[in-house]
C-alpha cells in the first residue's frame, strides 16, 4: 500500500467510528431549521460538555430516514415544529417512552404524549390578524365565524399544504366533528380574497396593503416582523392580532417538541438535552429570540408578544390529537378546493 495513504487510515477509521462511539455526544434529527436551534445547542454544549451532532430536514423525510436506518440509526432525538409529526413518529413506533420527573413537572399534560413518547418545548398559537384601519376587534370572535358570508372576499390564508393549517383544521375536527369542519373549510374557501399563496408573513403584508381585511397566521411571525427589518415592520404595524375563541375553548395552539428515538445509543445525554431545552435559560431563548410562548410556567414572554395580551386562553386539547386527525384534515381541504 502506498505509504502516503497509510497514515490516513487511523483518521479514516476514526471518522467512520465517530458516529457510533459512545463519546460525550448526542445525535439530533431536527425539523427545526439550523438557525433556530443551533444557538441553543451551543449553549448546551458549553454547559454540559456534550457535543450535539445535527441534521436538519423536513419532518416526514427525517421519519423516513429513521425508518430505513432501522435499529442501527445513529439518531438519539427527533425534534419537530409541530405535534402531528411527533404523533406520526409514535405511531410508526420510532420513539421510546421517557418517564422523567423534570420533564413531566415542567411540560403541562396537554402538551406531551399521554404515554411519554414526546414532550413540547415551545408553544405557538394560530390567530387572526386584522387591518387596524378597516376592522374593529369587536367584529371578530371565533374561527368558526370566519366561514360566515359577511367575510366574503376579505380573508387571506396560505395553502393547505402547510402543516399549521392542517393542525388548525384537525383541532376543529376534534372539537366539532368531520362534517362541521368540512362545512367550515368550504365557507372559508368561499370567503378568500385570493387563492392561497405565500407564507404567513405574506398574509400579513396582504392585509396591510389591502388585498384582504383579515388573515390567519402563527403568532411568532408577527413578532419577528415587528422586531426585525423596516419594511416588514411597516406592514406588521398596520395590523393587529386577535386571539379567537376566548369565550369558548381558547385559541388553537401547536408546539415544537421532541422525543427520544427507540434504541438511542446516547439515551442519558439525550435526556439531558431535553431537560436543558425546558430549563429557564432555554425557555427564555425561545421566548425572546423567536417570539414563541414558553411551555414552562412563569417564564416571561417577549415585550412584543406581551403587548398582544398574555396569558391568553389556550385550547386545552391534547396536541397529539392534531396528529390523529391530520389525514382527515387534508382530505377535507382537498374536497373543499382549498389549494
Amino acid at each position: 500500500m502506498n505509504h502516503r495513504i497509510r497514515p490516513l487510515i487511523p483518521l479514516l477509521v476514526l471518522t467512520l467510528l465517530s458516529a457510533s462511539t459512545l463519546a460525550a455526544e448526542v445525535n439530533l434529527y431536527s425539523a427545526r431549521k439550523e438557525a433556530l436551534i443551533k444557538p441553543l445547542l451551543d449553549k448546551f454544549t458549553a454547559q454540559s460538555g456534550i457535543k450535539v451532532n445535527l441534521v436538519t430536514g423536513k419532518a416526514k423525510t427525517l421519519l423516513k430516514r429513521l425508518q430505513s436506518e432501522g435499529r442501527n440509526t445513529p439518531a438519539d432525538i427527533l425534534l419537530t415544529t409541530d405535534a402531528g409529526n411527533l404523533h406520526a413518529a409514535t405511531t410508526a413506533n420510532l420513539l421510546q417512552p421517557v418517564d422523567n420527573t423534570t420533564l413531566k413537572t415542567i411540560v403541562p399534560h396537554n402538551l406531551r404524549d399521554p404515554e411519554d413518547h414526546w414532550y413540547a418545548l415551545s408553544i405557538r398559537s394560530r390567530v387572526i390578524v386584522y387591518s387596524k384601519e378597516r376592522i374593529k376587534a369587536s367584529e371578530l370572535s371565533t374561527y368558526e365565524d370566519l366561514a360566515d358570508p359577511k367575510w366574503k372576499g376579505r380573508i387571506c390564508i396560505r395553502s393547505s399544504n402547510n402543516i399549521y393549517n392542517q393542525s388548525l383544521l384537525a383541532s376543529m375536527i376534534s372539537h366539532n366533528g368531520i362534517k362541521p369542519a368540512e362545512n367550515w373549510a368550504k365557507g372559508v374557501v368561499a370567503n378568500m380574497a385570493q387563492s392561497p399563496q405565500g407564507n404567513d408573513r405574506a398574509q400579513v403584508k396582504a392585509v396591510a396593503v389591502g388585498v384582504c381585511d383579515i388573515a390567519i397566521i402563527n403568532t411568532y411571525y408577527m413578532g419577528v416582523m415587528l422586531h426585525k427589518d423596516a419594511d416588514q415592520k411597516k406592514a406588521a404595524s398596520q395590523v393587529a392580532l386577535f386571539f379567537p375563541n376566548q369565550d369558548g375553548r381558547g385559541a388553537h395552539i401547536n408546539i415544537s417538541g421532541a422525543g427520544i428515538i427507540k434504541g438511542a445509543k446516547h439515551r442519558e445525554n439525550a435526556i439531558k438535552l431535553l431537560e436543558f431545552l425546558v430549563s429557564d435559560e432555554a425557555q427564555q431563548w425561545y421566548a425572546q429570540a423567536n417570539h414563541e410562548y414558553p411551555v414552562k410556567a412563569g417564564i416571561p414572554v417577549s415585550k412584543i408578544v406581551n403587548a398582544w395580551g398574555y396569558p391568553f386562553k389556550q385550547d386545552s386539547l391534547n396536541v397529539g390529537e392534531l396528529g390523529k386527525y391530520n389525514t382527515d384534515a387534508v382530505k377535507i381541504f382537498d374536497r373543499a378546493g382549498w389549494r
Binding site: A35, V55, T61, A88, R158, D229
Partner: protein, 563 residues
Amino acid sequence: MQQSITDNLTPSARLRFAFNLPSGWTLAAAFVALIIATPILTILGFLFYPSSDTWQHLADTVLADYVINSLLLMLGVAVGAGSIGICTAWLTSMYSFPGRQIFVWSLLLPLAMPAYIIAFTYTGIFEVAGPVQEWIRESFNLRYGEYWFPEIRSLGGAICMLSLVLYPYVYLLARAAFLDQSICALEASRTLGCGPWRSFFFVALPLARPAIVTGLSLALMETLADYGTVQYFGISTFTTGIFRTWFGLDDSVAAAQLSGLLMTFVFVLILLERWSRRQARFHHATNRYRTIPNIKLPSLMGWIATTACLLPLFFGFLLPVGQLTQWAIATFGEMVNDSFYELMMNSFLLAGAAALLTLIPALILGYGNRNHATPISRFLVRLSGMGYAIPGTVIAIGVLIPFGILDNGIDAWMIKYFDINTGLIFSGTIFILLFAYMVRFFTVSLNTVESGLGKIRPSMDEAAKTMGYSGIKILRHIHLPIMKGSLLTALVVVFVDVLKELPTTLVLRPFNFNTLAVRAFELASDERLADSSTAAIAIVLVSIIPVVLLSRTIAHSRPGQPQ
C-alpha cells in the same frame, strides 16, 4: 463480415478491437445501468403495491388539477425556455452584433440560479407589498385593486421563473449543434433559394433537432421535478401532489406510486420522441468545414439582436443578482464567518466529486451502447436516466431504502456469524449522498456524452484501425479531442446542478454537514431573504468560473475552428 476479419487476426490485434466488441463493454454497461437504476426501480416497485383508498380520494378531488397544472407548466416552459434558448443560440452562432462576444458566455449564467432563489427574489420585488407596486401606489395615489399588475405567484409566474433559469440548457446544446453544422449545408440551402428564415427553419433547426430535444428534455424534466417554486407560488402540480400525499395524507406508498407514474409518463414521452426520429441519424455527411462567417447585422437589426440576448440575461441573472447583492450588503458581515467558508468548501468539493463520479458511468454506458446496443441495454440506459424527472426527495428515498436494507442486512449477518456489530456502513455518509447525485444527474452526463459520441462517425474508428491504431490510441488521438467539449459540458452542468441541489442533500447528508444551497434555502424558506442572499450569491459566484470555462471550450470545439 467483421467476424471473419477478427478471426484472421492475432490475439493482440484482436485486442485492438476490444473496446468495439460487444461482450465486455455491453455487460459492464448493463451492470452499471442496473446499479444506477436501483433507486428508480425501488420507486417503480411501489406501483405493484396494492393501492389504498387514497387513490379514490385523489381521483375524486385533486388529481385532475395536478395533471393539468403540470402539463400547462411543461408546455409553458417548453415554449419559454425553448424559444429563448434557440433564438439566442442562433443569433450568437451566426451573426455578429454589439456585445456578441460577451453574450456567448454570459447567456449561460442563469444556469447558476437555483429556481427557488429566483422565485423568492422576484416575489420580493414584484409582490403586492414589494417596492415596485408600492412605488406605483404612491406615485399615482392608487389603492390596491385600482390598477392592474401581473400576479407573480401564479402559474404564469412559475413558467417565467423556470424558463429564465432553464433556457441555458437549450442554449448550450442548440449552440453547440449550430456550431457543429457544416456551413456547406446552409450555403447549399441558400443557393437553392432559401432565405435566411427558410434556411433556419428547414435546414438548421431540423439538423439541430436532437440537440435541442436533449436540451428541452433536461429543462422539462427539471420542471417536473421542481418543488420549491410551485410550492411557494401555491400551484398544485403533480410534484406538490406527491408531497401532499406523503406529508399530509401520510401515505408514502401512494406518494411513491405517484412518482412512479410521473416517471412512466416521462419515459413514454422520451420513447415517443426517439420513435418519431426512428432511423434518422444525424451524423455529419460532409467533411468540409469552414469558420462560420459571422454575418454582420446592419445596425438596427444588430441592436435588436443585442436586446434579444440582453433580455433573458437581464431577467434571468442581472436583476435577481442585483437584488440579492443589495440584500447581501446589509447582512454580509453577519453571515460570512469561518463556517461560511466551510460551507463553500463543502459545496465545491461535493459538486466536483459528483461531477467526476457521474461522468464515469456515463462514459461506460455511452461506449457500451455505441455500436452494440441491444434492446435490453437501451432500455436500461433510458431507465437509469429517469432520476432527473422526479423530485430530489423521492430519489433520496429510493436511495435510502435499498441502502438501509443492505446496511442492516450486512449488520445482521456479521452479528450472526462473527458477533461483530457493523452498524450502518453507507447510510448517513457522504458516499450515499454522492451516489444519489449520480442517480439524479446521470441523464445530464449521459446525454452530453452520447451527443459527443454522435460526432465520431464509425468510419473514423474504422479508418484509424486500418492504420493500425490501438484502442487506447484511438481514444486518445481521435475520440478525446472531439469529445473534449462534451465531456466538459457534462462536468460543468452536473457541477452546477449539484451546487444548487437541495432536497436530496437535505435528506441524506451526514451530521453537521451543510452546503450553500441548504443554508440559502433554510433562511429563504423562513422568509429571511436578506440573510439568505449571501449564500445564494456564493452559489452563483462559485458557478461562474466553470461556466465561463465551458463556453470558451465550446467556442473552440467546432471542427475546422482554429484552436
